[in-house]
Symmetry: D2
Subunit: 344 residues, 4 copies
Amino acid sequence: MKQENTAPLRVGIAGLGRLGKRHAEQLARHTPGARLVAACSPVAEELDWARETLGVPRLYADYAELLADPEIDAVVLVTPTTLHADQTSAALRAGKHVFVEKPLSLDVATCEAVEAVARDYPDQVAMVGFVRRFDPSYARAKAAIDAGQLGRPFLVRSQTCDQNDPAGFFVRFAPSSGGIFMDCSVHDIDLARWMLGNPKAVRAFASGTIALHPGLTDCGDVDNGLAIVEFEGGQRAMFYASRTLPHGHETTTEVIGTTGTVQIGFGAHADRTEFRNAAGVQHTALPDFFARFEDAFRLEMEAFVAACRGEIAPPLTLSDATEATRIGQAITESLRSGLPVAIA
Amino acid sequence: MKQENTAPLRVGIAGLGRLGKRHAEQLARHTPGARLVAACSPVAEELDWARETLGVPRLYADYAELLADPEIDAVVLVTPTTLHADQTSAALRAGKHVFVEKPLSLDVATCEAVEAVARDYPDQVAMVGFVRRFDPSYARAKAAIDAGQLGRPFLVRSQTCDQNDPAGFFVRFAPSSGGIFMDCSVHDIDLARWMLGNPKAVRAFASGTIALHPGLTDCGDVDNGLAIVEFEGGQRAMFYASRTLPHGHETTTEVIGTTGTVQIGFGAHADRTEFRNAAGVQHTALPDFFARFEDAFRLEMEAFVAACRGEIAPPLTLSDATEATRIGQAITESLRSGLPVAIA
Amino acid sequence: MKQENTAPLRVGIAGLGRLGKRHAEQLARHTPGARLVAACSPVAEELDWARETLGVPRLYADYAELLADPEIDAVVLVTPTTLHADQTSAALRAGKHVFVEKPLSLDVATCEAVEAVARDYPDQVAMVGFVRRFDPSYARAKAAIDAGQLGRPFLVRSQTCDQNDPAGFFVRFAPSSGGIFMDCSVHDIDLARWMLGNPKAVRAFASGTIALHPGLTDCGDVDNGLAIVEFEGGQRAMFYASRTLPHGHETTTEVIGTTGTVQIGFGAHADRTEFRNAAGVQHTALPDFFARFEDAFRLEMEAFVAACRGEIAPPLTLSDATEATRIGQAITESLRSGLPVAIA
Amino acid sequence: MKQENTAPLRVGIAGLGRLGKRHAEQLARHTPGARLVAACSPVAEELDWARETLGVPRLYADYAELLADPEIDAVVLVTPTTLHADQTSAALRAGKHVFVEKPLSLDVATCEAVEAVARDYPDQVAMVGFVRRFDPSYARAKAAIDAGQLGRPFLVRSQTCDQNDPAGFFVRFAPSSGGIFMDCSVHDIDLARWMLGNPKAVRAFASGTIALHPGLTDCGDVDNGLAIVEFEGGQRAMFYASRTLPHGHETTTEVIGTTGTVQIGFGAHADRTEFRNAAGVQHTALPDFFARFEDAFRLEMEAFVAACRGEIAPPLTLSDATEATRIGQAITESLRSGLPVAIA
């Protein structure tokens, strides 16, 4: 804590797509203790945006150059999933703290290889972006569980469901996304592990259907998926992921314990208004993940900065990313084979 | 209790309009311990309905004949308000138990005169139809208050709000209804007294507006009314009555105490469904007072029958009716004068 | 409809346990068009109750005698599950209409055998007690689906969850209940079929855990169960059943379609009250299935009576019972084997 | 808009109490386009806090010195109410933009005098802190009204209710607060005007009670107050203010129109969690005004900065402050006299 008012953390961001821009704005404008000093993207327009809108002074087209910049303490990776693992390892080797968006990799062995690299740099923070852990409601639920208010938690039911995009952007993205469970449910998987106390997963079963996007057939993906995961000791999790909700984004989690349960996010209220007219009583639903987790994105970045500055312990480890991938891949394999898949 | 399985209470009903039919069906089909043996109406079609639909054996066009029927133990009055008081007194004098719809009278002195008659017949039940007291949710709230769960209750906010009827039936009814406060808020007034422990009202102030029905101007009535009532000892009540809600019937009450509050009826859900679609998240609102208080109408009639059969003490007295009229008339007078009105 | 005011349906009930008493009271006191004229139970105290409390005139210890009574038009079976099938067949052969509680049988072949008997008596009603279909909220949801308001419904998520009974009554009942899915989820299975348009089920997978009642181990049952069912054409259902909810009974269903979704029963409100105090904002949850479905039990019995009197078509057939058993047994087998089970 | 990336607005803040600290942190850390360059307080510890926690470079004990600082473009006044008017005028005369917390003054003539000063400085922004206008839910409601979704809005019911503070801090503050209506309801008054389209108020009536804090008696104040305000043309408003809610802060507003209504803030949810246990279903209520309006405080300050930089028109004028005081004082006078008060 004694360092709190010392020099701010100098951050470089790589990747300036939709989510990258959010993180960049957050770091440039609203994250105490940090300064966004560099940005990296192969897209010239994105670098222009960073300079003009956020005043980012140093811009790189090449990630290696970003890492070579000695005036950078930490990098934030919002790049395509296929790059996450190598870029994380490289950042650690370059002496930088690193924040990487989820998933770390679609491959368990690759995740483990990055973990191995991280073990060589114990003084650097390596944190994966499971943003829902930073949402105040999820944090309150976790605190209640840790305080024993649910007794022994034994079941998590969790969903990540997006509003249908008639343009089907995600269909084009499907071949590289790892499938609906790796793309959406990975958050729910991480939450289930967190809420249940990090039990060892032993088996997964999945099923799914294509409700609206037949274009997914080719890559073996679905637009609505269901999964059951069994953990050692009898705990269970049930996941639902959808790309086709008609009304908005509805991401919810329920943790059921022996003496209490907690529900997070039910109702999907966009805000605190409710309208009444001839059609009845209604409220608007959240439009998307960003609207739901705006605060969490901010708090996540603040936590990363605080961890880099030594003010708090890193709230997430790369091991959390590895385990989420391990379970997500077993679910995905079950979707394809139609059989339960044992988890090593 | 020992009488429970003896002969059923023989009931005659007077008045077979919309609400009268409800009570008649209730008594004929669903009220244990009672038999609907007679009906009285000046409208031949209504008597036909009673005979054909409910199988009521004895039908009278004249109320005096109904009272003269020695095979009737109790009468249920669902007649126009102007008849309530005289018909109640006559029923008592004829040796019948009597249930009378609210309000007993628009005139306090008339209410008191009926009370005086009732005192001469202490073994007969005389009960006024403040149906909301019999709703399970109101009953639970009252029980919580009596158990001290709110500390000292000091404020009631209560409303009776109907969905707008574009045909404006109530406008034609306005000249004889006693105005919006006597017609609608009389329920809220009774509830406030009940919830607050029957304090003495000392002053009332009202205001109102005509939102949609200019035809009310002639009789000095409004379609949206607001009132504040002051009770001895500092307790307060605030009432809202509306004829013009766009979405349905929304009748709610909040009781605020020093250590807790209770809200009854918020949300106006017609049932337990909630729909989600491109317009957001919505539920249907209750269409009307009947839909909201269907159970309460049943329980009210069961309570009346149980009181007549000596199984329970009468849950309501004529004095409750008198006090509701006293407060309702003060509010109505304030609406007209624009000044606070002291309550004797 | 022309028969509506003719002689009432004469009903005999068999089985006077907790649910049997409910049906008996309903028939004796509140079901228009019916008279409860006989009761059958091997337990003398139960027959005494029927005579003394409900005034049922003819009492039988032996089911064969009940069926031999020529003054009975219909029988209502609320007997142990193992008797349902034979008693239903016998009633049909005796010329009676029959209402039988769910499940018809734990065995698919037995269900089919009863169906075969029923085909010989096409003029007699044979209806199974899937009571949730008669709940007004479920009925409204179904009507909305039939009106196309959800587009194509493709996923049902449904649960039947009871408040934990520390005494564990159901544990003693477990060896004969058929397991948690046959006992609880059979309702959800029936609803899923109904909401999805009676698709053919092709495969089931289940998992479960024992959270609080180790006594279930011996009979291979669990106190919390999860299941996924796959239907032909890509529709899916997901079920959750629990015996251990800490707060009350929470039975909910969600139907997800391509243009809308409907949720039924979320929130588990016991009534329309909400309390606020130092602990926050709270409402009481429903205590049990009876409290939740009180209206539905009434409407179900009214529908049975109306069907027997020819006023409506029977809303449920024995085939619905067979299919629910077929799916329920596949789920139960999957729970035991740990493998997906194909449905013939 | 062309100025958006020019030099940031240099802001000096006066007053560093609880709310002052919030605004200072907002300006120092999270408000794009602004820099907090100076702070003013007669309390040395507060200036120390500004320097040490926020790194504010220039600190003044004397407001005149703050105004004399040529490197300041705008001042933010979070000082005691009695100073607001003079300090606002002085800031304007010193060539600064000014943001002043509500109420501008407890005296209408004083408000009008500040307005007169402001007219001499048309190029400087003078904005009063009616923060609820900047809450996203209130903003959405207002947009819906402006889009005609409620038809003609004719009634506002609005409340500002704080959780009881057993220490009774506000009792000590009561002699200078202007009373509960000037301190709390002034927000509701401003909202009512805004939602109803700035109608002219013609009359007010108020009542109140002391539920828990007898210390208020001496200064003629109450801890629970009710008011009705009549506007020209028939619109109405009803206000409730409380210092004694048992569960938290519950600030709500309902706007009722001829074709729709909107409710804002009902339910008082602190977050998106809901707990279930043996006590039922519950959620935590908002603890205070700050928790409820955290986003609004941020957006308000961003709007002030944007107005000063010429990017938007000032969303609020001093005239809004004057009218709120005019109505608030009429309500307060009515509370004391017991009579309706005409509004000039």
